[in-house]
């Protein structure tokens, strides 16, 4: 095992960038993906027929095809068609649309939207109807029922499953190395190409992922325990 390359500042810089990008990707696609998931779930539960069918089709297609294929579909497929739209190069969006990072975040957001959407659909349907009826009887406006009653209760029901989805998201980040985004795997691959070491860089980032998953699991367990309504009654502040 030869880890002397860790003394090289350039490589450390790559690894750090890869690490930060990994966290950003998880945070961004996790947040936007969850918003999309709520939309997908709502469309199927209360949406009009065509919208519900569209949402169902969306989840079926996304969950039935490999994420790697979706990534290339957006990056190479859609990404190469965009410049043919006249005037797109002059808009403010062009610097974003040219960046591989954007397509990685886009693919992950859509993927989270589909997988978590299914989870949220199940959870939102499991919220007892009486609680929503009670909220309506109090005259709470619809959007507030959603934000204050329906969603919090649904999240409470499926929180452990959502934890699993976040870990899956974290573990799919290395896929973006294939579309030239600097993540941990990309950094390791650069080190491998330049130092001719086959395993050391890969083992190092395997260790980093192991640690990240462990930390994420612990953090989420903490969240699960402190989530309102999940705490034992005697710990609750009045």
């Amino acid at each position: 095992m030869d880890y002397s390359w860790l003394g090289n500042e350039v490589y450390l810089e790559y690894l750090w960038t890869g690490f930060v990008n990994t966290l950003i990707l998880v945070a961004v696609s996790g947040a936007f993906g969850f918003a999309l998931a709520v939309g997908v779930a709502l469309a199927q539960i209360v949406g009009p027929r065509p919208l519900a069918a569209l949402a169902r089709g969306f989840t079926t297609v996304i969950r039935g095809t490999p994420l790697l294929v979706q990534l290339f579909f957006f990056y190479d497929g859609v990404g190469r068609l965009l410049p043919e739209i006249p005037g797109v190069r002059e808009t403010w969006m062009w610097p974003i649309l040219r960046d591989a990072f954007f397509y990685g975040a886009l693919a992950f957001t859509i993927s989270v939207g589909a997988y978590a959407g299914e989870v949220m659909r199940g959870a939102m349907k499991s919220v007892p109807a009486g609680e929503l009826e009670a909220a309506r009887a109090f005259g709470i406006p619809r959007h507030k029922i959603l934000l204050r009653v329906w969603l919090p209760r649904a999240v409470q029901i499926c929180l452990p499953t959502l934890t699993g989805e976040i870990i899956l998201l974290l573990k799919s980040v290395p896929l973006v190395s294939t579309i030239a985004v600097m993540d941990l795997l990309k950094a390791a691959n650069i080190v491998r190409d330049e130092t001719f070491l086959v395993y050391e860089p890969l083992l190092l980032i395997a260790g980093i992922y192991l640690a990240l998953v462990l930390i994420l699991t612990l953090v989420m367990r903490r969240v699960e325990v402190t989530y309102p309504g999940m705490r034992p009654a005697h710990q609750r502040r009045v």
Binding site: T60, G64, Q70, K171, L210, L214
Partner: protein, 234 residues
């Protein structure tokens, strides 16, 4: 341009279907081996023998927390080297050249086995203790007890997890393309690069995967009906 014809989807239909077939072959083989590994892992975890429990826990925990792509790249390269070293240690002076196919199947099976270990462990744990005790009281041997009681009783519990893992496996086969093995997605990438119609070919690959996954959903639903026959309807 004289004599030059733009290649299209039709010219690549053959290779793409061939790639889909390779993908299916890899997935089926890896699934079968993964089932065995999972059963072994679950048996080890439930055996109560310290070293076995420890080994199986290490296997299922580590493999499940490292990204599949990373594992596949690691094992793909490490696999041949480990085999070569073992062969050298045994006195054979050979250069081991495992084929891409074998490596792909081996790596995916190894990863699947870790997830299957957890599925089987949960499913076996859900069998009522009394049933196993009854089997012991009747003097069934361990083998017979497994074949007649444990297996048929745990399958209904395990099947939803198993069908999920099959879908994950089919989608994970695409990762093998990253190490340059020619399956469905690798073929689609080649086609896309050579015709420069990326959109068309990635869509085509997506459709083929979708056909496989939706098709297997039907099969698994039938299988679930089979293993649940005799159970009271829900």
């Amino acid at each position: 341009m004289q004599g030059f014809r733009q290649e299209g989807l039709l010219d690549w239909a053959g290779p793409l279907l061939w790639g889909a077939l390779t993908t299916l072959e890899i997935a089926v083989l890896a699934y079968a081996i993964g089932l065995l590994l999972g059963l072994l892992g679950a048996t080890a975890k439930l055996s109560g023998l310290r070293p076995l429990v420890w080994l199986a826990t290490l296997y299922s925990t580590v493999v499940r927390s490292i990204p599949e792509l990373l594992l596949i790249i690691l094992l793909y390269y490490a696999g041949s080297q480990v085999l070569e070293r073992t062969a050298r240690a045994l006195g054979f002076d050979v250069v081991v050249e495992i084929s891409g196919f074998v490596a792909a199947v081996g790596v995916l099976a190894f990863v699947q086995g870790a997830y299957m270990t957890e599925v089987f462990r949960g499913a076996i744990n859900a069998i009522p203790r009394g049933h196993l005790e009854a089997a012991d009281a009747f003097g069934l041997s361990r083998g017979t007890r497994f074949k007649r009681i444990v297996l048929p009783e745990m399958l209904p519990n395990a099947l939803p997890g198993l069908s999920n893992l099959w879908l994950i496996l089919v989608k994970d086969t695409a990762l093998i393309s990253v190490v340059g093995f020619e399956e469905l997605f690798f073929t689609a990438q080649q086609a896309a690069a050579s015709t420069r119609s990326y959109f068309v070919f990635y869509t085509a690959a997506g459709v083929l995967y979708l056909v496989i996954t939706l098709g297997s959903n039907v099969l698994f639903r039938e299988a679930e009906r089979q293993v649940r026959r005799g159970q009271p309807g829900v």
